[in-house]
């Protein structure tokens, strides 16, 4: 939320709840500041014959906007989330089955794509799907003065000159997904990647804490 220099990046307060829906196999809600997303995952489940892949599971992602029907913008985001999940999941372990992830926007106050990614990761974990690594979404905005703002609000996004969202993996902290808007220099890009990697540490620690809290009753 705040402008950050060389010190550790500041993110808005985030919260998460797992296993809050009764029907899906895994569910989560992820809140970053005022941005909130609800995720549900079904799988491994039966797959349509036309979509069946003989050596791995079929991944489907559906993004439901807060109002109206999904548009081309949602489609592009679905593609980003789906391919990120595909890379993290060990889908070879469940051939000829399907994983379906539904993401419902509850409220959008900036950094929506990163919130989708974080909610998706928590839901996949909750569903007990086999994963090779975790991922965290971080959005960076570069404002008119060239300062980098992590996890911007909708207002900050509007006033920014460039906006980048990265998915960082948990094993080597490398870039799994990148989606950008606006123009920026190579140097700015590398700086944003470095900041996102740093910010992802916090998110991964948060993942660990919230899963630990969830299992605290059965320890």
């Amino acid at each position: 939320m705040e402008v950050c220099g060389s010190s550790s990046p500041t993110l808005r307060e985030f919260g998460c709840e797992q296993n809050l829906l009764s029907r899906p196999d895994g569910s989560s809600s992820f809140i970053q500041g005022d941005t909130s997303v609800l995720a549900a995952v079904y799988g491994p489940a039966e797959v349509k014959v036309s979509k069946e892949i003989y050596d791995r599971a079929t991944m489907e992602v559906v993004i439901q906007p807060k109002v109206g029907v999904p548009s081309v913008r949602e489609r592009a985001r679905e593609q980003c989330v789906r391919e990120t999940c595909e890379a993290a999941l060990l889908s070879k372990l469940h051939p000829r089955s399907s994983f379906t992830l539904v993401l419902q926007v509850v409220h959008d106050d900036g950094s929506l794509l990163s919130c989708f990614l974080n909610a998706a990761c928590m839901a996949l974990m909750d569903g007990g799907l086999p994963m090779g690594c975790l991922f965290a979404g971080v959005t960076c905005a570069i404002n008119g003065e060239g300062q980098i703002i992590t996890d911007p609000t909708a207002v900050q996004e509007k006033g920014s000159r460039a906006l980048m969202t990265f998915a960082i993996d948990s094993t080597e902290r490398r870039v799994m997904m990148s989606s950008t808007k606006g123009s920026f220099t190579v140097h700015e890009l590398q700086k944003c990647i470095a900041i996102s990697q740093k910010a992802s540490e916090k998110i991964f620690q948060f993942y660990r804490d919230s899963v630990r809290r969830r299992y605290s009753k059965t320890l």
Partner: protein, 277 residues
């Protein structure tokens, strides 16, 4: 023998080439396929271009129409890109409403137009709040052999440079626009965004300009879009295996040289069409 190997073990087939730093079609890892450009190929459109990157063929036609400016931005026109992947171009596409790839490509092109400032939409305004141009940029793939985004962006850029809009006079009294089809002017193109796509094999080897087969076997694809000032307009990596900042840097440097090549190509083609006049 080789054909059987290719069909049975496509991934192994490609790996055996990559191990020797070359690719089944004879290219090195960092080589683009031959890119050819033809502009003004559709005489009925206001601007058009046909691009071939290897076998991938993409045609872009620009149609200019009058429209009312949006209330929130009375001084701006619109650019509406649309990417169409008909069943004609590959057996993987089915007839019917556009699939996910076509929609994602359309969104990508729209994002590039917005983030790169390829042209100022203010210049498409004819009378503030009353009349403006809307440029429908229909990009259609005729033959799909991978690296769609690169080809689409070259086609769009060349077609925009080729487009010539008629002069419009707007009489205040009758509020009827008069179009002078004889007197046409070109568009003012500020930036020249050029894309370069990469595919990642086995989590480590990056190859440039993947074919459709390489795309389907790769573990990730990346598209880097640069303008002439070496500013990035997009770093599009929709998931896939992760890459370090260093690897991305290598891709960006390769994209810089690609930008020079394409910029030169577009300029050359435009020059060549001008000379006969």
């Amino acid at each position: 023998m080789a054909a059987g190997f290719k069909t049975a073990e496509p991934l192994e087939y490609h790996r055996s080439f990559l191990a020797k730093n070359c690719r089944p079609d004879g290219r090195e890892l960092g080589d683009f396929r031959t890119t050819t450009l033809n502009i003004g190929s559709i005489s009925t459109a206001d601007g058009s271009a046909l691009v071939k990157v290897g076998n991938t063929t993409v045609i872009c036609g620009i149609k200019a129409e009058f429209a009312y400016p949006a209330v929130e931005s009375p001084g701006k026109g619109y650019i509406v890109p649309n990417v169409d992947l008909p069943p004609l171009c590959s057996s993987r596409f089915r007839p019917g409403p556009p699939g996910e790839q076509a929609q994602a490509a359309s969104q990508f092109i729209a994002d590039i137009i917005e983030s790169s400032d390829v042209m100022q939409t203010e210049e498409l305004c004819i009378v503030k709040g009353k009349l403006c141009w809307v440029l429908y940029c229909d990009i259609m793939c005729l033959d799909y052999d991978g690296n769609l985004l690169d080809a689409c962006l070259i086609a769009l850029l060349a077609a925009l440079k080729n487009a010539r809009l008629p002069k419009v006079t707007f009489s205040k009294d009758s509020e009827v626009p008069e179009v002078n089809l004889e007197n046409r002017t070109g568009l003012n193109i500020h930036k020249h965004p050029v894309a370069a796509s990469f595919a990642v094999f086995d989590d480590s080897i990056t190859i440039v300009d993947p074919t459709a087969e390489e795309e389907s076997l790769s573990t990730a694809t990346i598209t880097v879009v640069l303008d002439e000032e070496e500013r990035l307009c997009a770093l599009h990596k929709p998931g896939g295996t992760s890459l370090s900042g260093q690897k991305l840097q290598d891709c960006i440097s390769r994209a810089t040289t690609r930008h020079r090549e394409i910029h030169k190509l577009i300029d050359k083609v435009i020059q060549s069409t001008k000379t006969p006049e």
